[in-house]
């Protein structure tokens, strides 16, 4: 039983942290809505001017950037998710020779930062004639995403009771059928959480896009935002509007999936 005082204290602390987290977000939205001709100041309020978004959209050429981002994100997340589920199932539920060693090799992909490999990767892709194509953004990110996804799905599959899979085997189901019809329906929160995390990371990827593509038509949103920032250093309102535009899709995705996200984060933490 929590006492009233404890409860109040909890709310005060949580409230303070929420404010701390929300303040910059609210600040940037308010800034983006400020009078473009007025005196811009971060977080201050002087009326609602949604026209800033239209200006930023036009000036910053955000349409093509967002399109690139969506293409890269959708392909990376879709392919990486399928591969991660398959690999996670194998590592989590099947017994085979060398599974330990192989799993550590996969984990390497999780430990090595992009910064460490981006330069040699650039030369390899240039030699293969893949720079300045979507492939240069998609393939390396599938690689790093599968490393995380495999780790994540393996952890989930290990929480599934073995007897469930064994029952299906005895009942006559193949491994393939068992995965898609018996186990995966239970994995929905875990899979959705993984997809959300991969989406966020892919959407926000900056370095790879910076190094791999020079063609403006291939630029992703964060890269576009950076160029936009370079051109409009002083126009705080316009910059804020651009930032909001780039962040909005992923925020919407999160809001849409957040129920599953929290369930996925909790799965495995406590025995359900």
């Amino acid at each position: 039983m929590t006492s009233r005082r404890e409860l109040t204290l909890t709310y005060v602390v949580l409230g303070a942290f929420s404010l701390f987290a929300l303040a910059p977000v609210v600040g940037i939205v308010l800034t983006a809505l400020q009078d473009p001709d007025g005196l811009a100041a971060f977080g201050s309020f002087n009326g609602l001017h949604p026209s800033n978004f239209a200006d930023a959209w036009r000036d910053g050429n955000f349409g093509p950037y967002l399109r690139s981002s969506v293409i890269v994100m959708v392909v990376v997340v879709a392919v990486a998710s399928v591969l991660s589920v398959l690999a996670g199932y194998a590592f989590g539920m099947m017994r085979f020779r060398g599974s330990q060693v192989l799993f550590y090799v996969v984990l390497l992909g999780l430990m090595i930062p992009t910064e460490a490999i981006v330069v040699p990767l650039y030369y390899d892709y240039r030699d293969a004639g893949l720079t300045d194509t979507y492939w240069a953004l998609i393939l390396p990110q599938i690689g790093t995403s599968v490393a995380f996804g495999t780790f994540w799905m393996r952890a989930f599959f290990r929480t599934v009771p073995r007897s469930l899979v064994e029952a299906a085997r005895i009942d006559g189901a193949s491994s393939w059928f068992t995965l898609w019809r018996v186990v995966l329906p239970l994995a929905r929160p875990a899979v959705l959480t993984m997809m959300l995390l991969l989406s966020m990371w892919t959407w926000n990827e900056f370095l790879l896009a910076l190094v791999m593509v020079t063609d403006e038509g291939l630029r992703t949103a964060p890269l576009g935002l950076s160029f936009f920032q370079g051109r409009n250093q002083t126009d705080l309102t316009l910059l804020a509007a651009g930032a909001v535009i780039v962040a909005t899709p992923i925020v919407l995705l999160y809001v849409f999936l957040q129920r599953h996200f929290i369930r996925g984060m909790l799965s495995g933490a406590v025995k359900g």
């Binding site: 007897s163 064994e166 005895i170 009942d171 239970l186």
Partner: protein
């Protein structure tokens, strides 16, 4: 339907031997209970039969077919798991129909077979529910039903009652036995509970430490345990033991142990030293029955009153013996008491090997 045979079966995990040289035959239509303490290899044996564990050496046969390298789904067995392993996202109907659908049984027949099993197990009203909405007993019956509809050659049951409360366990015990007698499908039933083994098995296989200790009807295993382990494991309260030196005397033998000095008439051919096994009903309070050997003095350690009968734990110079008393007992822990042994009901074991001496 078919019988099952284990022929010289070994199972090793690295250097650990889970099962050693298992030879066991389950005849067609029989309910064989494999019983033993945890780690005795009983579940491993069952899982090898199911195809869930590989076989290190030896052969497992279902009917006349060696199934060592046959996939679980090709073995035509159905298994009931300890945690039931119901598919949580599927309705009870779909759970029951799962195995039949995988085997491409026509739709009409699936419906008929599920319906029949549901009636037999009284789960007809639950068919639309999900496993999460079932009580433990209901889930247990659905798990049984899932095995039943398959009409397999062999049922495998891995401690199916251990998650139920005591009352439901007793009830379901009878129900499984009745079902098995109805369908007469060969059944291998694994449990650590010797009461379950005694009440359900046509025959019992007692395992310990990876080795099969004895196979026989419940009566045989209880009355003529092959060795000290079986004697101590089967029966509740357990058989008590004490060491004794044997001398011949007056056409019988005299047993002398710590605090014990009794003459057992009409008993001969015992080695000089033995372990004496005494079931609770073979030890009676002195003066309540005639023809018992004694008296043996001791101190009451505990009194376990079950209503119709009472078991009195008596300490005799460091060994503890359970003594049977009819009805309620007036004894209290700390009381001194005398009891005697029923000569014909005593069991003797060799001190070194633990093997029974007949």
């Amino acid at each position: 339907m078919a019988g099952v045979r284990f022929v010289g079966v070994d199972k090793r995990y690295g250097s650990v031997e889970a099962v050693r040289g298992l030879d066991l035959e389950v005849t067609d239509g029989e309910l064989m209970v494999i019983v033993g303490p945890s780690g005795s290899g009983k579940t491993t044996a069952l899982r090898m039969l199911a195809g869930l564990e590989s076989i290190t050496a030896g052969e497992v046969l279902i009917g006349d077919r060696v199934v060592n390298r046959v996939a679980p789904r090709e073995r035509d067995v159905a298994m009931v798991f300890q945690d039931y392993a119901l598919y949580p996202q599927m309705s009870v109907f779909d759970n029951l129909a799962f195995g039949l659908r995988r085997r491409k049984v026509p739709k009409g027949e699936i419906a008929a077979r599920v319906q029949r099993a549901a009636e037999l197990l009284d789960i007809g009203s639950l068919l639309e529910r999900k496993p999460g909405q079932l009580s433990g007993g209901q889930a247990q019956r659905v798990a049984l039903g899932r095995a039943l509809v398959r009409q397999p050659q062999v049922f495998l049951m891995d401690e199916p009652l251990s998650n139920l409360d005591a009352k439901l366990r007793t009830q379901t015990r009878g129900e499984i036995k009745r079902l098995q007698q109805d369908v007469r499908t060969t059944t291998v039933y694994v449990t650590h509970d010797q009461v379950e083994a005694m009440t359900m098995g046509d025959r019992i296989a007692v395992m310990n430490d990876g080795v099969l200790e004895q196979v026989g009807t419940p009566e045989e295993v209880y009355e003529r345990p092959a060795n000290r382990f079986v004697a101590g494991f089967i029966g509740s309260p357990a058989m008590s033991f004490f060491d004794a030196a044997v001398t011949r005397e007056d056409g019988g033998v005299r047993l002398r142990g710590e605090g014990v000095d009794v003459h057992v008439p009409e008993r001969s051919a015992l080695p000089a030293s033995v372990i004496v096994g005494v079931r609770p009903e073979a030890a009676r309070l002195w003066g309540t029955t005639t023809g018992i050997a004694g008296p043996v003095p001791g101190t009451v350690v505990y009194v376990e009153a079950l209503g119709r009968e009472t078991f009195v734990g008596v300490d005799v110079a460091g060994s503890r013996l359970a003594v049977y008393e009819e009805g309620r007992s007036a004894l209290q822990p700390g009381d001194t008491v005398e009891f005697g042994l029923v000569p014909g009901a005593l069991r003797f074991f060799a001190p070194d090997s633990g093997a029974a001496i007949s």
